[in-house]
């Protein structure tokens, strides 16, 4: 194993978290920073010709190459864990920008009481309202503490939307159930796909409070505080699983990378698969750096005084476990913190509806649409329902493409092939 010259900070992963940290350290300190990314190099201009459903949305060209390394999967502790052989429910990206390149750019905020879920639920319904084996925890930080950072991120991305609560003043047309915002969104709401407009009108007619979906796929040209300019969305419909053809969608390669590339104290190494964090528990700080393997299979030791894990919560946890750092969570006893409460996106029930009129669903974006949050609150409890919280309802106008959208049929149709 070859030891490299020591740096002040090493960052594992060049996605949103890693490149954001690299930008902050690179522009606000003189620390030497190395970012290690397992995937290939990417830049915004790569996406000018990527609107190919087969290669990108079906064959998933931007995702982690599972032939090189994968995770194992089981759905309960009694099953034998088996390799994830092909991508399914979750789509970890690989390459500079990570999953932030092929996301749908939906940028909702958590509600204030979500940060103190255990305390608030117990205060409202009593300490015994939750089952004994519940996993609900407070975050340890509050919305009020986080709000300035949410606002900074919205300005970085140029988020489009309409505020429903500016410093306590409720505004019709926005989400009146949201936490307070210090400012209006940097850009106005996106255009509204027809399908989402039907949902908006129906929700309104039922007395709910629909609002435009917060979107980092921006509605019009915008220059952020770092001087990065992007144009507005053209509603081409190729959003999630694709990089944005016109750069309207905020991606690490268009809002962070150009700043980082100008900094001499930050370097980015691609094709670097980090294997372990080396640490010495008797020292302070205890991290000594990381080991990684490059594309040729050679192993390196990158010494660093600061180690940032920014390779997605799932992989960060895996690296901690492999490195022997912390106490692994045991789902049987509930003990240990590493891997505890680890959650990916929770998929929610969805409904399929058929309309008589054409919806033109090929037009759209991954985050244009309407939502309502009248049920996203903690006062839904009824004695007849074992329910303490609800969620939001959404009708997003994702662009539909013909392979992925093919075959949606009413339940009465059983045949899957033939005339």
């Amino acid at each position: 194993m070859k030891a490299l010259p020591a740096v002040d900070a090493v960052i594992v992963g060049a996605g949103w978290a890693g490149l954001l940290m690299a930008k902050e350290l690179g522009t606000r300190t003189s620390l030497s920073v190395v970012v290690l990314e397992r995937g290939p190099s990417r830049q915004s201009s790569d996406y000018s010709t990527d609107m190919d459903e087969l290669d990108f949305a079906i064959r998933l060209r931007m995702m982690q190459d599972l032939s090189q390394e994968t995770v194992t999967l089981r759905h309960d502790p009694t099953q034998r864990a088996l390799p994830l052989r092909q991508h399914g429910a979750f789509l970890p990206g690989a390459g500079v920008g990570g999953t932030g390149e092929h996301w749908n750019a939906q940028v909702p905020r958590f509600l204030p009481d979500c940060f103190e879920l255990l305390t608030k639920t117990a205060a409202k319904y009593g300490a015994n309202a939750l089952p004994e084996d519940h996993a609900v925890r407070d975050w340890g930080i509050t919305y009020d503490e986080l709000e300035p950072f949410y606002t900074r991120v919205d300005k970085l991305l140029g988020s489009s939307g309409q505020a429903g609560n500016i410093r306590g003043k409720l505004i019709n047309g926005g989400n009146i159930f949201e936490g307070w915002r210090s400012e209006e969104y940097p850009t106005p709401p996106t255009k509204v796909p027809y399908f989402s407009s039907l949902f908006r009108d129906a929700a309104k007619s039922l007395g709910y409070h629909p609002y435009p979906a917060p979107s980092a796929n921006i509605s019009r040209a915008y220059t952020n505080p770092d001087g990065i300019s992007r144009g507005g969305c053209t509603y081409c419909g190729f959003c999630g699983r694709f990089g944005c053809m016109v750069g309207a969608k905020a991606q690490p390669t268009n809002v962070l990378l150009p700043i980082i590339q100008k900094r001499k104290n930050v370097s980015l190494r691609i094709g670097a698969w980090v294997r372990r964090v080396l640490f010495d528990p008797t020292r302070k700080p205890s991290a000594r750096g990381v080991t990684y393997i490059d594309g040729a299979g050679e192993e390196f030791f990158q010494p660093a005084s600061l180690v940032f894990l920014a390779s997605w919560t799932f992989n960060n946890t895996r690296l901690l476990l492999l490195s022997g750092i912390g106490e692994p969570h045991d789902p049987g006893t509930g003990g240990g913190t590493v891997g505890s409460n680890l959650t990916h996106q929770v998929s929610v029930p969805s409904a399929t509806a058929f309309f008589d009129q054409p919806l033109n669903r090929f037009m759209g974006s991954g985050s244009a649409g309407f939502l309502f949050s009248d049920f996203d609150r903690d006062d839904l409890h009824r004695s007849s329902m074992n329910l303490v919280r609800g969620g939001y309802f959404a009708a997003r106008g994702y662009g539909f493409q013909p392979i992925g959208a093919f075959g949606v049929l009413p339940n009465s149709v059983k045949a899957t092939w033939g005339s």
Binding site: M51, D52, I58, S67, P83, L84, R85, Y194, C236, M363
Partner: protein
């Protein structure tokens, strides 16, 4: 090197005039061309004929419009199998291979190429039978992995960008009203509420003017 195989298709079944890419070379086929011999990359000629026949029962041409035969689905599948997808370039293919609950996904070791070769052995003479007998044969293999892969690949070949060899003449897109990768729907998205907006389809190469290379042509 294996003997070269060709699939002979009538230009008439391929829908008259269309631009077709043969081994990365664009060809213009007009109705006066009686037939075109397309070089195969993976299938033997007989295999290609069986796949073409099976795909056109899965996605037939009928009163609602053209199907797998007109779209050139067999050519699409041939190219996919010859490329990275066919050899499982991106799938995790190390042991253990175990029976697993369905929700853990396909856990087998066979690549798409092997699944087709094995599956096609069970369909010998398929292309020579009448449509009713073909449907009966497909119903028998409906629960198999081969059939589900063939069905999925047929849909892909109907609706993929023509640069992959399927969706010839964009007949699949015209069938479902998909206009292809348009650079902008900015002026149309709020204009066509409740009305069909059906611009003439464009392919990725037409929309971008770039010689986009499909993944199956990469090493």
């Amino acid at each position: 090197m294996r003997r070269r195989h060709f699939l002979t298709l009538s230009a008439a079944t391929l829908g008259g005039v269309l631009i077709y890419s043969l081994d990365r070379k664009a060809s213009l086929l007009a109705a006066q061309h009686k037939a075109v011999r397309i070089p195969l990359r993976f299938f033997t000629e007989t295999e290609a004929l069986i796949v073409a026949a099976a795909a056109s029962r899965i996605f037939p041409s009928d009163d609602s419009g053209p199907g797998a035969r007109e779209a050139g689905v067999a050519i699409f599948i041939d190219r996919q199998l010859a490329g990275a997808y066919g050899r499982d370039r991106f799938r995790y293919t190390q042991p253990p291979f175990e029976d697993a609950p369905r929700e853990l996904g396909y856990q087998g070791s066979a690549t798409p190429r092997q699944i087709y070769r094995e599956g096609l052995r069970g369909l010998q003479g398929f292309h020579l039978r009448d449509p009713a007998a073909q449907d009966e044969a497909l119903r028998k293999i409906e629960p198999t992995l081969f059939f589900s892969v063939l069905r999925q690949n047929t849909i892909e070949g109907m609706f993929c960008d023509p640069l992959h060899g399927g969706n010839a003449g964009m007949v699949g897109w015209q069938l479902v009203g998909f206009p292809g990768p348009r650079m902008s729907n900015f002026d149309e998205i709020e204009k066509y509420y409740g009305q069909a907006y059906r611009p003439k389809p464009v392919s990725l190469r037409q929309a971008t003017g770039a010689r986009v290379r499909p993944s199956e042509d990469e090493k």
